[in-house]
Each structure stands twice: as structure tokens, then as C-alpha cells.
């Protein structure tokens, strides 16, 4: 720590409290995980640096993951907390190449929450499970005092099976591998933000929320050698790329011209001063594949409904980790891991 300095802009000396930034998927969350969470749960299967853990039991490879959903508002254009809690966990399983099989469902309900809304959310969970081809087979329900929860929190855990003779992991990537992005970015974040208190934007935009299993499986079925997968959630494209770069110690370069952004998303970002690369998605993913497989991968993904593009490649391995953007005007800049919550600016 700093000593013997007299500061008019002092370093924070009370950083022992958790703030919202610690849960935003950016660098503070990574810091919290590596320093405060991981040290206590270290074992041979933890810290796999993937969206789900894969364990081998009796020659079967099982994928296991969990996710909690605290979204506000509960209902948004294109989904609700129910469908999100199914697809969120299903997608984490899909990102290790697993076929999702079973989910658990834990509800934490605030006293006074409307039964009608709960009914709607349960209906949505039913539909989403059907679409994603998973079964909810166990669960738990708790009710907390009024004011001790924000209407409803959901936790789901998921188990899937992996039928691959290799591991999908950032450590597998090689120099010159290409990075494919499955569609446009930011729809989920903007559709939520537009519904938030204080912002009354009437926009015609749906969240990108959807299960990703069929896209990944179509690549696997075509024997595409997938090196690494990452779904784009909190922290947006910036966090997903930086996580890959960090785990693989890779220098990544991406081209802004190849990243699709819906007009409404672009406009809202300009108005509110938000960084498009930091916006969460819930139905988009990155796939790193060898350059030879790029074209075939795009064909396969686009046939099953993606708007996939090659957005960049791996420039180097083992030297340092960075994500560099080639801008539309031909200049270059860093894309950093987001820090803190998404905050609109003053002017």
C-alpha cells in the first residue's frame, strides 16, 4: 500500500465492501474470484476457466454448471427471468460442447410477490425447457421477508453430457486461429436497459435470449475442430475476448467492420454513452476454430439461423494477452476488460 503520501485524490482506503461492480462480469469480478473465492475451493476439478466444469466419471464426460438470475425487470422484450434461467445454464453447458440434460430450479421469492407473475414465469420455464430439450428434475423454494429480496431470484444448475474426444478450452487455441461471432451484439442489454426505471425509451427491440446448443452441436456434428467457445454474457464481447486472451495468453486482433450491431442498439449506446463491446448478450457466442475451418463453420452456423462472421484472429500466443480493435476508420485501439457497472455519462 501507499505510505508517506499526502493525497488530494487519495487511494480508496475502504475497499473491504462488495459493490455492484464486483458482480458486473468485469475486472473487479475477476479480482474477487481469484483472490477471495477460488483460494477456498481449490481442487483438481475447479478453476477450469470455462463456462462449465467437465468431469470424467466411469468413462463418461459430464458437464456441470450453475447460475443465479437476479435480473430486474423480471419481464422484458423477448423473455423473462424464467426463460433466462433455463437458457443461461443451458448455454454454459453448450460452451463446453455438452448436450444439456437436466436442470435444478431454486426459487427465492420475496413475500408479497404476485402468484400470477410466478405462474407466468413457471409457464415460461416450462416452454424454455421444452425448446432447449432439458428436464427440470429437482428444485427448492424459499420465501424471504418483504424487503429482503427483489421480487424473485432464481438459481439453476445443469448437467450435460460431452461426447467429444478432445476438450474445448482456450488453452487449445493456436496462432492464426480465427474467431467467429455468432450474431449481432448488445440486444439483450439494451432491451433490459430500455425498461429500467428512469429510462422510458420505446424501442422495437427484443433480447437475443435463446439456447445455443443447436448451433454448437451443428458444428460438432460436422466435425469442425472447435478450439474454444465462450458465450457473451455480462461484460459483453469485451469480457469474452479478454477472458480468452487471458487464459490462452493470446494477442487477439478483431476488426470492427465485421462486428454486427443493430441500429437501435447503436443509437441507444450513442445517446447514453455506453460502450457496445461491454453490452451483455444472452444468445450469442464466440467460437475459435482453425482458419481452414472458417468458411465451413460460417456456412453451417448461418444455415441454422445465425448471422455469424469471422471477427478476428489470434495474432500470437504465449507472449502477452491483449485484445486490439482495428476500427472502421483504420486506426487501432485496445479493447479492455470492462470495469464496474455500465454507467451513462453526464454529458
Amino acid at each position: 500500500m501507499l505510505k508517506n503520501f499526502e493525497l488530494s485524490c487519495p487511494i480508496e482506503n475502504n475497499n473491504d465492501l462488495i459493490t455492484l461492480s464486483h458482480g458486473s462480469g468485469g475486472s473487479q469480478m475477476h479480482d474477487l474470484l481469484s483472490k477471495t473465492i477460488y483460494p477456498f475451493i481449490k481442487n483438481k476439478n475447479s478453476e477450469q476457466s470455462n463456462d462449465a466444469a467437465v468431469v470424467e466419471i466411469n468413462n463418461s464426460k459430464l458437464a456441470f454448471t450453475t447460475d443465479s438470475f437476479v435480473i430486474s425487470p423480471l419481464f422484458f422484450s423477448g423473455g423473462d427471468i424464467g426463460s433466462l434461467s433455463v437458457y443461461g445454464t443451458v448455454n454454459d453447458l453448450a460452451m463446453v460442447g455438452a448436450t444439456p440434460l437436466f436442470l435444478s430450479l431454486a426459487l427465492i421469492i420475496e413475500e408479497g410477490f404476485s402468484k400470477e407473475q410466478l405462474f407466468k414465469i413457471m409457464e415460461s420455464i416450462k416452454q424454455a425447457s421444452k425448446i432447449a430439450n432439458v428436464e427440470v428434475i429437482t428444485g427448492d423454494t424459499k420465501v424471504v421477508n418483504k424487503g429482503k429480496g427483489d421480487n424473485l431470484y432464481i438459481n439453476t444448475s445443469g448437467i450435460g453430457i460431452v461426447n467429444l474426444d478432445y476438450k474445448i478450452h482456450p488453452k487449445n487455441i493456436s496462432k492464426d486461429d480465427v474467431i467467429i461471432l455468432s450474431g449481432d451484439i448488445g440486444r439483450h442489454a439494451i432491451s433490459i436497459l430500455a425498461k429500467r426505471e428512469g429510462l422510458d425509451f420505446e424501442i422495437d427491440l427484443e433480447s437475443d435470449l435463446q439456447p445455443l446448443t443447436k448451433y454448437v452441436q451443428s458444428l460438432i456434428n460436422a466435425n469442425i475442430k472447435i478450439k474454444c467457445l465462450r458465450d457473451i454474457t455480462r461484460g459483453g464481447l469485451a469480457a469474452a475476448l479478454n477472458e480468452i486472451a487471458l487464459t490462452a495468453i493470446a494477442e487477439i486482433e478483431i476488426d470492427e467492420s465485421n462486428i454486427l450491431v443493430n441500429n437501435t442498439v447503436f443509437n441507444l449506446c450513442e445517446i447514453l454513452g455506453l460502450d457496445i463491446f461491454h453490452l451483455a448478450c444472452e444468445g450469442r457466442f464466440l467460437a475459435v476454430v482453425p482458419a481452414d475451418y472458417a468458411e465451413e463453420s460460417l456456412d453451417i452456423l448461418n444455415k441454422v439461423g445465425c448471422e455469424a462472421q469471422v471477427i478476428g484472429n489470434i495474432k500470437s500466443l504465449g507472449i502477452s494477452n491483449s485484445v486490439v480493435l482495428k476500427t472502421k476508420i483504420g486506426t487501432r485501439r485496445i479493447i479492455d476488460m470492462p470495469t464496474g457497472e455500465l454507467l451513462p455519462r453526464i454529458c
Partner: protein
Amino acid sequence: MKYITEYRNKDLLEIYSQKIKKISRANYTIMEVCGGQTHSIVKFGLDHLLPKNIELIHGPGCPVCVTPINKIDRAIEISLLPNVILCTFGDMIRVPGSNLSLQQAKAKGANIKIVYSPLDAVNIAKLNPNSEVVFFGVGFETTAPINALAIEQAKNFKLNNFSMLASHVLVPPAIKAILNSKQNRTQGFLAAGHVCTIMGIESEYNIISEQYKVPIIVTGFEPLDIIQGIYFCVRQLESKEYKVENQYSRAVKASGNIQAKNLISKIFKVVDQNWRGIGEIPNSGLAIKKEYQMFNADYKFEHKIIDNADKQNLVCISGDIMQGIKKPFQCENFGTKCNPLNPIGAPMVSSEGACSAYYRYRKSDVC
């Protein structure tokens, strides 16, 4: 988006880049006043489109960065009082005070709401008659009119539970302070287009330009605005002309926005103002007038904290950075001891701060 994509046109940028290269012979140092412009320059790498003899330095136009530390402490102090809802723009939430930031006060239990307009805070006061709603009114001439309107609305609605902790700063006195400094190396200014949209360009800027023999280009925020603003500036410097030119004519009228100006002078009076990291600049701030004192949070809530302002700064060089004397990479703590997770100074966390721009988009001189 109209008025955005046209101003990010690669071919036009290239044309202006070439024009600048063609006409510039000597070395020039140009300051963009506004932090929004700084972010555009670093984010789009606009300085890389310029010849080596033109250096861009970054000005003090980041309202969050120059808000005095004692005002932040005061906001935190008020936010921790019982029954208070403190409303603020998102930018302020991570700025370090003496001990805490507003974000940390929130984690300690303060009721802090991020709003998008001070009028939202007035509305919150209307909806919560049993709470004291305080808006942290920070900003340049751009935010002053809407903050004034919030106070006027609160008065019209007869709200006795709304008040504002105001910390407003003005651009022209800051430009003068930079020019008066012995360390000044600015030869031309890109003035903040949106500030001039409100205040106009008729009086103060003309006087400064004439008196100090310095080109002032009223400039917008998109890449093409900035490159064109630089071109206008270099053109004047080469021909030894010194005047105010309006690059941002699609938004700025010479007389400004008269209604907005009237509203500012109705609610606020010009006062001497302390700028964080820089010091006091005469007549560079706006304070709530006495007749609106009931809406002045500083007056309404008892003072308990010690004034922390004006401590000599040994580690954070934000004052030098905001006066164009140094650049973020020249700070030994940049990216190491000072980073967005542990900011030593406000420019590292403000979305308009120069250090934040360099950290986010550049990290080193590589790109």
C-alpha cells in the same frame, strides 16, 4: 444514426488528414478542452491521423474530474444521513472522495440512485414526500440549464423535500487560467461545442482569442468534427490569424441558447470556484442564488466534515494532465498504482477523464 455515421467517414477523415499534413509546417500544440473530445481522440485514434509536428494535449473539460474533493465528501456525508435519497449522474459514482466513493457509501447503506436527468430527481421528490431528495448537480455550462430548471420546477411544485448540491464550472475562465500559466504550451484550442451551444461564442471567446492571440475553434465531438477543427486551427496558426471559428455550426449559434442562459442567470450566480487538482480559478463557478437557498443542499444540511480541499497533491498529477502540461503516460502511477479499480485521481474513473481514455483504449504507446 444520422449525424453520427456521416461524421465517422473514413474517406473524409483521410482527406482532412492529408490537408493538415499539407498545410502544417511548424510544430503546434493544440488543446481539446472537453473530456468528451479527448475520449473521441483516443478511442478513434485520431492523433494517429495527424503529422508528427502536431501534438494534441488534453484540457480540463471533465466535470467529474474537477469537482472538488470536499464536494464529493459532502455528497457522501449527506447520502449517509437517515431518510435521504441522493440522486446523481452515473459518472460521479466511482470518483474517490477523501475516504469513500459514492459507490462505497451505497454499499454501506446510503440510498443513492443513478438518474439520467435532474428532473427525474424532482420526480422522485414528488413521489417520496417523506424523504429528502438531494440531486448532486455537477457539470459545465451544458448541465447548468437543466439543473436550474430542476430547481425552478421544484419551486413551482412547492416541493420542500428537494435540494441540490451544486458544483458547476465554467469553461472560459479555465481557458484563461491555462493561458496565464507560466507552464502553458497551448497554441490553439478546440472549444467544447456543446458548451457553446448553450453559451454562444459572441463575447468571452472572442475576447480571449484577441487578447491572447490564440485560435479558438468551436468543435464537435465526432472524429470528422475534431479533425476538421484541428485543420481550422492549424490553418489559423500557419497564417498567424487568431479568431474564433465555428466548426460545429450545425449545433452552435453565435448567440447561444438565450432561454437556457436566462434560466442559468435566474437560479445561479457566478462565483470563484475550486477545481480539483488545479486550484481556485476566479469567477469560474456557479452557485445557487440566495433567493433559492431552500433548494441548496449545502445550506439545508448541517456541515460536519472537515474541508479536505486544496491539500497539496504529491501522487496524482491530474492537475498537470488537465492543463495539458503532462500526459497520462507521464504519470508513474498510471495503470499500476492508479487504475480503474483503485483510482488515485478522478480522471481514471470518469468517462471523460483523460487517464480513463488512455487506460481503456491505449494502455501503452503501442496502439
